[in-house]
Symmetry: C2
Subunit: 278 residues, 2 copies
């Protein structure tokens, strides 16, 4: 596809790698500083699509993205999972034992804390806004005592050396990204996953009854996430990922039963699940 | 009570006001920069208790605090709700129309964005680590063009003038704080709320079946929040607030049925609900 995709982060960031995996290597980019800017790029039609991280297996849901989807009435038309593997990256002539300063995004530094404590306790850790941009920075500073933490792809892009691979503490480190558009995309032939928002009545057992519409039909929910309803303190809506496509008859019956319970349902999109997650 | 209470923030911050409401005006404080430091203060016995924000009605759950409770095996023994009302605060001689710089915590600045855009579009907004500390700062700078956004109490503490009251965009702005201790506290005579963590089996319908243990006994859940299980990608546990005390027979039957379903239950505490929230 020759699509232009808005992402948070720079070239060779994890968002960039996920976008290439989903949209193909020929897709263009609008690089953005924040999730808000990323969504604004598709609202302003500077990009065709956006690809945003929605959840990390260690950190949990990225609530800001959930809120932006609803506020901008966006559609989810696909997903991609990426194993997050962090590398320690230095100049071609760098020696691991000489490293005195390490640049990276604060989340990446935190993910590699154990390795840094054990291997490079003397090195100072410096926060930077993006993992890939940290590699670009050390490539410009030309000091072999400086290193960055980022993807393998970022090391290659800037001609840098990988000093250590897979240095993250927890290897079960995956991020789920979703593909977003401002207009309803063509539904794939056989979608098998649907993202919805449920707004139940504010009565005891309402969530239980809502989940029952799926459970009694054998439809699994791979995820459920509560979010506050703005302006109604302590009332919640629920984001849910349903393991069924919107064309599925069981799914359609479940939605009808929800509506009969006065539960409001917003369908964010029906798409093909990324089976590499399992 | 003459207790020492660890909080995030300074004197007259919203945490400090909530602590006075819950522990009384005579309670002492250990002022901390982060939630991690706040919990460390009770682990190190520099404070008797901690009081931490756990949820805001606009922002949602504060996941970091949920994670700290489990990681440090803490007990919840009470809760307090506070309406968050932001004031624009200046020097005694300040004029609203002359304000050119406004200091506050980034969350407070965001909550008052609409007021600032409409009333003080020319004023620069500067981020500071704490609302009350921003008032202290402008009281020291002695420039009548500088203002801060903070609580009424912070204005009073530093002898400053309230230039505008209740300037937050959304008035349904409440924060729930929880009282935490490292050892199991004396249970109140008639607790009516219990906070638990549920770890269901990873099978379709498991959450539905777990919620059914409460729903079929007419026990309401005022809150349910999913969090990832670290090291098991896309497996979740659920924090729930149950509207029943741990001594309640119905509650006890529900817990027994959960355990019979192979659902692991951790009880974080049973306490009196703050009825001012309703």
């Amino acid at each position: 596809m020759g699509s232009i995709v808005a992402i948070q982060g720079d070239q060779a960031s994890f968002h960039d790698i996920a976008a290439s995996q989903f949209f193909g290597g020929q897709s263009g980019r609008v690089f953005c500083d924040t999730f808000t800017d990323t969504i604004q790029a598709i609202v302003d039609k500077r990009a065709d699509y956006a690809l945003c991280a929605i959840e990390n297996s260690l950190y949990g849901s990225i609530n800001e993205v959930y809120d932006l989807i609803l506020a901008n009435k966006l559609y989810i038309f696909g997903e991609v999972y990426l194993r997050i593997e962090q590398c320690l990256i230095g100049l071609p002539e760098a020696q691991l034992s000489d490293i005195s300063e390490i640049y990276s995004h604060p989340v990446a530094l935190a993910q590699c804390e154990e390795y840094l404590d054990n291997t490079l306790p003397q090195a100072e850790r410096l926060e930077y806004h993006d993992t890939a941009a940290a590699v670009e920075k050390i490539s410009q500073l030309l000091n072999p005592q400086f290193a960055a933490i980022a993807s393998r792809q970022a090391a290659k892009l800037y001609g840098m050396q990988i000093l250590a691979e897979s240095i993250e503490t927890n290897k079960a480190n995956y991020t789920r990204f979703i593909a977003l558009s401002t207009s309803q995309p063509d539904t794939p032939v056989q979608p098998n996953k649907t993202s919805i928002v449920l707004r139940t009545t504010h009565t005891p057992g309402a969530l239980y009854n809502a989940l029952g519409c799926f459970a009694k039909r054998g439809i699994n929910l791979s995820k459920i996430q509560s979010r506050p309803i703005i302006g109604k303190a302590w009332h919640y809506m629920f984001y849910a990922d349903v393991s069924a496509g919107a064309q599925d008859e069981n799914y359609q019956q479940a939605i009808q039963e929800l509506q009969a319970q006065d539960c409001k349902v917003i369908v964010l999109g029906s798409y093909l699940s990324d089976t590499s997650a399992n």
